[in-house]
């Protein structure tokens, strides 16, 4: 008897300690929380609020178009309203909402306490929030972007575009940083933080999808960042990248925008389908049919979606053979997309479906999406696209795809996962009403637009004459939009008011099989103890698992040292490898987001000094963050996680999560760089004489720069090796030498175009050479800061032969730096000689 009560006391003490370690601060300090549950909720709420705002803008647009010759709002406000509607829906809702859901759901779904970089997650959220408020707020000052959500030059580079274009470019670049941060967090989380035993064949399908999508973000967003950079250089400093009179070409923007823009559609679509892949098995009461086929579809779509971008450019006069390649890929992507739909249908046929509210939204979404997919197959054909291009047919198509493929599944997810937020259901009655209002409202709005488009109504017109057969169709669309709006309003009311009415439901109310339903809404620790997973649907197949987890009978049931900890496991078989100590509550995330936000906002208004000061503060914040929050040498080598397993507390090199984060970040960075190099060769193909008789940077300085950067790389690698063998002194000397060589490399790189007096405003050739060289020099600068950081850590005794994580990661950065230098200086120095 006394043993039992003692065990109970132990357990209570363990729980209290765990609760204290994972607790959020109270009062206003609550906003410094970094826990995935809070950050996920904030992220989701903010994205939802932005969506409602953009929805109101859409109603404004529809009101203006309700009747012919209308002048309800001014043409300028109309332009701002539709531009902001598209921009906000794509950048501030569609992508962030999935990041929000992933940050909220993934840790319990994978059986982790937390994602590996919680402070990075919080930094991403605050960046998103600040950037989003900045971009949305602009319309209240009449300063919103007004040239359409894809910002085509020459319209968007003209004076007419006003400051709105800068707000778009800089505000969104900032938000893209947030997306990349989230992608790094998600990839490392899914690959390395799964519960023991959750092999890749047992991973929840949501995680599979998110892994692919986060990978797509790493390769899709950087081309847009590169495009933004070129665009802003033109707007701020008159570098003529898109000015045809000085050798530039507006088409380059279209390429860079759509290399981002088309994968983006699938970046939005796949996570929504991932939600369906979780919901449908639950309500069919059986495992998904064709797990491997879903993986095929996710990976296949992820790849093929990068071969579609030119189908947005069929009307730009590219050679037909090029158009045909993209048309072919656009048709091919229908195969994996359809596979997913058939898998869902098969699962429903094989099970006994319960038509709950989430299932209603799921089914409605699939029906709408299939229709959008079929018009997609139509517009993927070049001759048809030439007819439908830039008409309301396209508006109808894209809304069918996005609302069916994304909005309805998100609502399904909202109804399905709401009990995980506070243990309560949303209203069944309101849900049913909302669904039918939204479904009918949607179809009344967008079905007629196919006909409006085929009757020739172009996108983005402010108004139209009465006698050409567009009027009743437009009125119908406006009526439908109001019905759709009422349906969404019903959901908003339900979300905000239901808390007062509903009693707390039981845990796992839908009797789902996946692990996220083991999490307790009132607790902050993710999972009480981390179980060993033996099935794709552990709550169905592993009897008594939920009780064991809650009783703390599994791994890592305590936090004896008072630290937030989670498990790191191997990629394929999820064998435990390390106990990872993650960052806790901190101001540093908000501080860094605020200062970086100030950099971008000050640049918009050309407040150079403010921008520079904020940049310095951001850098200081990041260094403080790294110095105090990462690479800590633990007080002991290993920690016992229970069941006779003891794991190391420190890892470096390829075993550490930081190494993976660096690798993934630099892959994205390399993609942005590749986009700039693409720009260089794009301009070369567009001109008979690329250099138009202008001076190049010569061969001498580029080759000297290359040699110096190669030497700096060698010094860094040698520093790592000597440090590993215990030669701390020599390693410090080598790091110092690396710094000196890097500084000389940056200077030599810039000396090329400088010494030949290349004027970047004169023609696109000098401009593109300068931009490549500056890119390399800035990366050299970052490399210098990293070398100095390692040097300081070594001198402070925080970087030793055994604990060398920082130096390993910096060396990895320098591998990428070497490739950057090789390509930059090879291209600008040698390519003109080869011509």
């Amino acid at each position: 008897m006394s043993d039992v009560s003692e065990a109970g006391r132990d357990r209570a003490a363990q729980e209290a300690q765990l609760r204290a370690v994972w607790a959020n601060p109270s009062g206003w300090r609550y906003w410094t929380s970094v826990n995935n549950t809070q950050v996920g909720l904030w992220y989701g709420s903010a994205a939802f609020a932005f969506m409602l705002f953009a929805g109101l803008l859409a109603l404004l647009v529809r009101a203006q178009l309700a009747v012919p010759e209308n002048d309800l709002i001014s043409a300028e406000l109309y332009n701002q309203a539709y531009t902001l509607h598209g921009t906000v829906m794509m950048f501030l809702f569609a992508v962030p909402i999935f990041e929000a859901v992933a940050i909220f759901l993934l840790p319990p779904m994978l059986g982790a306490r937390e994602l590996p970089f919680p402070r990075l997650g919080a930094f991403g959220f605050w960046s998103f929030f600040i950037g989003g408020v900045f971009v949305c707020g602009s319309i209240f000052f009449g300063a919103a972007p007004n040239s359409g959500w894809f910002m085509y030059p020459p319209l968007a580079t003209s004076e007419q575009a006003g400051i709105g274009a800068d707000i778009w470019l800089l505000g969104l670049s900032f938000i893209e940083v947030a997306s990349l941060a989230a992608a790094v967090e998600l990839i490392v989380g899914i690959m390395k933080c799964r519960a023991p035993g959750m092999r890749v064949n047992l991973m929840p399908l949501f995680a599979w999808y998110l892994l692919i999508v986060a990978g797509m973000i790493i390769f899709a967003f950087p081309p847009l960042i590169a495009g933004d950079l070129l665009f802003e250089m033109q707007r701020m400093f008159d570098w003529p990248f898109f000015d045809a009179a000085r050798g530039g070409d507006p088409l380059l923007w279209q390429h860079l925008f759509w290399i981002f823009g088309h994968p983006e559609v699938y970046i939005i679509f796949l996570p929504a389908i991932a939600l369906l892949a979780m919901i449908i098995p639950t309500f069919a009461g059986r495992p998904i049919v064709g797990y491997s086929w879903i993986v095929l579809a996710a990976v296949g779509t992820g790849f093929l979606s990068f071969g579609l971008w030119v189908h947005h450019m069929f009307a730009t006069g590219l050679p037909q053979i090029s158009l045909a390649f993209f048309s072919a890929a656009s048709e091919a992507v229908a195969i994996p997309t359809a596979v997913q739909i058939f898998v869902f249908i098969a699962t429903m046929l094989a099970g006994r479906v319960i038509f709950s509210i989430p299932m209603l939204f799921a089914m409605g979404g699939i029906a709408i999406f299939v229709m959008g997919g079929l018009t997609g197959v139509m517009v993927a054909l070049v001759p048809f696209d030439w007819q439908a291009h830039d008409t309301y047919f396209i508006v109808a198509h894209l809304h069918y795809v996005l609302i069916g493929g994304m909005l309805f599944p998100i609502f399904a997810g909202l109804y399905y996962y709401y009990p995980l937020i506070d243990g309560k259901h949303m209203s069944e009655r309101v849900g049913r009403l909302a669904f039918w209002l939204m479904f009918t409202g949607f179809n009344i709005t967008f079905l007629p637009m196919h006909i409006t488009g085929l009757r020739g109504m172009p996108r983005r017109v402010y108004t139209y004459p009465a006698d050409i057969g567009w009027d009743w169709l437009n009125l119908l669309s406006t009526v439908g939009a109001v019905v759709l709006g009422i349906g969404m309003f019903a959901v908003v009311v339900d979300v905000t008011l239901h808390r007062r009415r509903k009693p707390k439901g039981e845990q796992n109310p839908w009797n789902a099989g996946t692990l996220e339903w083991v999490s307790e809404p009132e607790e902050n620790w993710g999972v009480r103890s981390i179980p060993r997973i033996e099935s794709r649907y552990p709550l169905w197949d592993q009897k008594d698992l939920a009780r064991q987890v809650h009783a703390g009978e599994w791994y890592l049931p305590d936090a004896k040292e008072g630290r937030r900890e989670t498990l790191v496991t191997s990629v394929l078989d999820a064998e435990p490898e390390q106990v990872l100590r993650v960052g806790g509550t901190s101001y540093v995330s908000i501080f860094c987001a605020a200062t970086l936000g100030t950099v971008f906002i000050a640049l918009t208004f050309k407040f150079w000094v403010v921008s520079l000061l904020a940049g310095a503060a951001f850098l200081a914040g990041v260094i403080y963050w790294l110095w105090t929050g990462t690479g800590e040498i633990p007080e002991k080598e290993e920690k016992d996680i229970g069941h006779g397993i003891s794991l190391p507390l420190y890892a470096s090199g390829v075993k550490s999560v930081g190494w993976w984060a660096m690798f993934i970040t630099m892959s994205g960075d390399g993609t942005a760089f590749a986009s700039l190099v693409f720009g260089y060769f794009f301009f070369w193909t567009r001109h008979e004489d690329f250099m138009v008789g202008l001076e190049g940077p010569g061969m001498f300085w580029p080759l000297v720069a290359l040699a110096l950067f190669a030497a700096a790389w060698a010094a860094t690698v040698a520093a790592r090796e000597t440090n590993r063998r215990g030669g701390l002194g020599l390693s410090r000397v080598l790091l110092g030498a690396g710094v000196a060589l890097s500084i000389a490399g940056c200077a030599a790189g810039l000396a090329g175009p400088w010494s030949y007096g290349m004027d970047p405003t004169q023609h696109v050739y000098p401009a593109v050479v300068w931009v490549l060289v500056i890119w390399a020099a800035v990366h050299g600068g970052v490399g210098i800061i990293m070398q100095l950081y390692c040097l300081a850590r070594s001198i402070a005794g925080r970087l030793t032969a055994r604990h060398d994580m920082e130096l390993q990661n910096v060396t990895l950065y320098w591998h990428f730096m070497l490739v950057t230098a090789l390509i930059t200086f090879g291209v600008v120095g040698l390519f003109p000689e080869a011509l």
């Binding site: 491997s292 992820g302 093929l304 071969g307 090029s322 072919a328 193909t685």
Partner: protein, 127 residues
């Protein structure tokens, strides 16, 4: 014949082999055609040279995908076990990887043929 194939690698990356071949083939076709049509004198030859070039690339890509499919078939145990491969064992994980890789090889094979089809019909750099 199986002895000619390389030893089995245990890695997450093998899953992506066939789609990567598709991507490289796609990019080569697009870049090749773009440069050919913008700078006809640089590469020399007429449009038929380009078409033949793309056919050669396509045959190479398809062969690589077939090899990847063979490796995947071997990893899938030559089809001896049926899906769902959902057991918590190393063997089922390997079977799953093999099966998924095989499916992706099939999709990539079809997608490469899709990409190459235009050269059957288009005979010029018309715009």
């Amino acid at each position: 014949m199986w002895r000619l194939l390389p030893r089995q690698i245990e890695s997450m990356w093998t899953l992506f082999t066939a789609p990567v071949v598709w991507a490289v083939h796609f990019l080569a076709c697009y870049v090749g055609a773009a440069i050919f049509c913008e700078k006809p004198h640089l590469l020399g030859g007429d449009f038929n040279t380009l078409r033949v070039g793309i056919v050669v690339l396509t045959v190479m890509a398809l062969s690589m995908i077939v090899i990847s499919a063979l490796l995947a078939w071997r990893q899938w145990g030559f089809g001896t076990g049926d899906p769902p491969h959902g057991d918590p064992t190393r063997r089922d994980r390997q079977l799953f990887q093999g099966y998924a890789t095989l499916l992706l090889s099939g999709l990539s094979f079809v997608a490469v043929i899709y990409t190459a089809l235009p050269v059957l019909f288009i005979t010029d750099c018309i715009r």
